[in-house]
């Protein structure tokens, strides 16, 4: 996404399309959404990411109007939408099951919402044809939903929900039912369609790769709370907690104690007999405070000789996961801690430098990792 060209969340003047103010939703004793405040801006592709049961679907259903908040307000373009029923909202939703009407043809499915608006026949025809072209479904217009494939059904569901020009399109796990290859293709198609239609998209997913690919901003949720909202690169490079670091991608987590600041560097004591880790904190740590040091496997180098770097740790290769383009080495340090290091396989496998049981050096710079309080 055009991250640099437009980042309305950084502009204090920008008005959000959606504004959640201290929204809480309870089902009996269960709190699905817990005092949540968030802004979503125009033309954003906003991803709600989290494990199942984290409240992301409830959040979306409140936007669609199928649930009402127990406390707090939701504003759509400055207007409180709590009293507006789903059929009167300028919000459309693409359902996880697609929810295509089985008794209607593809054409009638797409036209369904337009007919409810009392549009003229001519305008409906034009709009449906436009949506069919956008989703490349022209030749299937007369078929029934059960006569087309899963990928085509997904596109019908998208076309139907976009037909009414919603201010906001909600996508509930839109690609969950597709196989991996089709899913990746469809992700790019979704981004393309979002740009073409200039609609604000809010997508719910539990697939972090999908969220990272399509979204302009990602909100990581857990237990009804938003843990972090940021652009995909910021979420990946500067997670604000071990939860986010662990949820997005692969990470090595080392727990230690702050042992003295030296300029902008912090020493972390973490295990008996191991050298201190030197990192660059972004927040204040007092001496003796617990620090979680998080470092991505691809930022850890693996070499035979001890290199000249701020942090060097010696260990033995325990396991090698060969993934084709990359290899992940599991290296056991003295004391039993296992660290993952990743290298790109830019040479042929036969010329690989290391194998099982080799003694190796792991190294990383003093800016490669993130220091987290929790």
């Amino acid at each position: 996404m055009a991250l640099d060209a437009s980042a309305p969340w950084e502009d204090p003047e920008a008005k959000p399309v959606i504004h959640f103010q201290n929204v809480t939703k309870r089902f009996g004793d269960f709190t699905a959404i817990d005092d949540l405040t968030i802004d979503i801006y125009e033309k954003e592709f906003f991803a709600l990411l989290g494990p199942s049961g984290c409240g992301k679907t409830t959040l979306m259903r409140m936007l669609a109007g199928f649930e009402t908040p127990t406390e707090g307000t939701i504003l759509l373009q400055g207007e409180n939408i709590a009293p507006v029923p789903p059929n009167k909202r300028a919000v459309n939703m693409m359902f996880q099951s697609y929810a295509l009407f089985p008794h209607l043809s593809i054409w009638e499915n797409i036209a369904f919402g337009l007919k409810r608006d009392g549009m003229s026949k001519h305008d409906i025809n034009e709009r449906v044809d436009e949506m069919l072209r956008l989703t490349r479904l022209e030749q299937f217009a007369r078929r029934k939903p059960h006569q087309i494939s899963g990928g085509q059904r997904q596109r019908v569901a998208l076309a139907r929900s976009l037909a009414k020009h919603p201010k906001l399109l909600l996508l509930d796990e839109p690609l969950g039912a597709l196989d991996k290859k089709l899913r990746q293709e469809t992700q790019f198609e979704l981004m393309d369609i979002q740009e073409k239609t200039d609609t604000t998209f809010v997508i719910v997913t539990h697939d972090q790769e999908e969220a990272m690919t399509v979204a302009s901003r990602v909100a990581v949720m857990d237990h009804g709370k938003i843990i972090q909202v940021a652009t995909p690169d910021a979420i990946y490079e500067t997670p604000n907690s071990t939860y986010v670091a662990d949820f997005i991608g692969d990470v090595n987590l080392i727990e230690g104690k702050a042992a003295g600041q030296d300029g902008d560097k912090l020493k972390i004591t973490w295990a008996e007999g191991q050298p201190d880790i030197i990192g660059t904190p972004t927040t204040e740590f007092s001496n003796g405070q617990t620090v979680h040091f998080a470092i991505r496997p691809e930022k850890v180098s693996i070499t035979a000789e001890k290199p000249e770097k701020a942090n060097c740790l010696q260990g033995k290769i325990l396991d090698i996961a060969y993934l084709g383009n990359i290899s992940t080495y599991h290296v056991e340090l003295a004391g039993g801690k296992v660290i993952k290091a990743q290298t790109a396989n830019n040479r042929r496998l036969s010329r690989r430098s290391f194998t099982w049981e080799d003694d190796v050096w792991l190294s990383f710079t003093d800016t490669a990792g993130v220091l987290l309080e929790r």
Binding site: N87, A99, H146, R160
Partner: protein, 273 residues
Amino acid sequence: MKRFSWFNATSLTLGFAFLYMPMVILVIYSFNSSKLVTVWAGFSTKWYGELLQNDAFLDAAWVTIKVAVTSSTFATVLGTMAAIVLVRAGRFYGRTLFSGMIYAPLVMPEVITGLSLLLLFIGIGLDRGVLTIVLAHTTFSMCYVSVVVSSRLVSFDQSLEEAALDLGCSPFQAFRLVTLPIIAPAVISGWLLAFTLSLDDLVIAAFTAGPSATTLPMKIWSSVRLGVSPEINALSTIMIAIVATGVIAASLISKRSAVRQRAEEQAAERVEA
């Protein structure tokens, strides 16, 4: 494939003989030219012709059809509404009591249903006739409709209705344009069930009918008490034919559409674009 053993073949024959022998005999004797029911005197269709001349039977048939069509229609509307409430409304105060009360008439002895309705009609001073039979049949057949429809609604994907609301339907429009067309086969078979139940009910009709209205089963019952006539056999054969045709047609239609749908789904997956 396992061979058909003698034991299997014998049990099958005995079972079917037990089920269908009486009906087969009735059908055969309806083509008997003799006036005496138990003596075979050659093939003839004259009793069918005489049946068409018998005004008492024709009147009763007309009453029966009127009652069956109206009562099954009312029962379908009420039963469908009850099914929707039971399946959709989730937990509300008194839900278990409500669902228990809907299904109770299924196991209630017909004599008791008939008697209590009779007492009610006398109590409120309603003259017994076609109207009272319709009301009574609606009462006892709506629970069958609600069983059939609610079993369909349980497997109904509720996001279809949500999608309809999301696309601008009022709740009633969503029901009319999406839910009803999809559950229509269940509603229709509920109607057919109510229709056949009303068609062959004797006990409840006997309690709630007045001198002005006699249904066909009541007419058959009262004439048989004066002796079985070949005309009755002919009439019963016609009723068997109507019911059998309806049942076979309904099952063929539903089976064929299921087979076609599966074939089309498989074809669609094969040409995955």
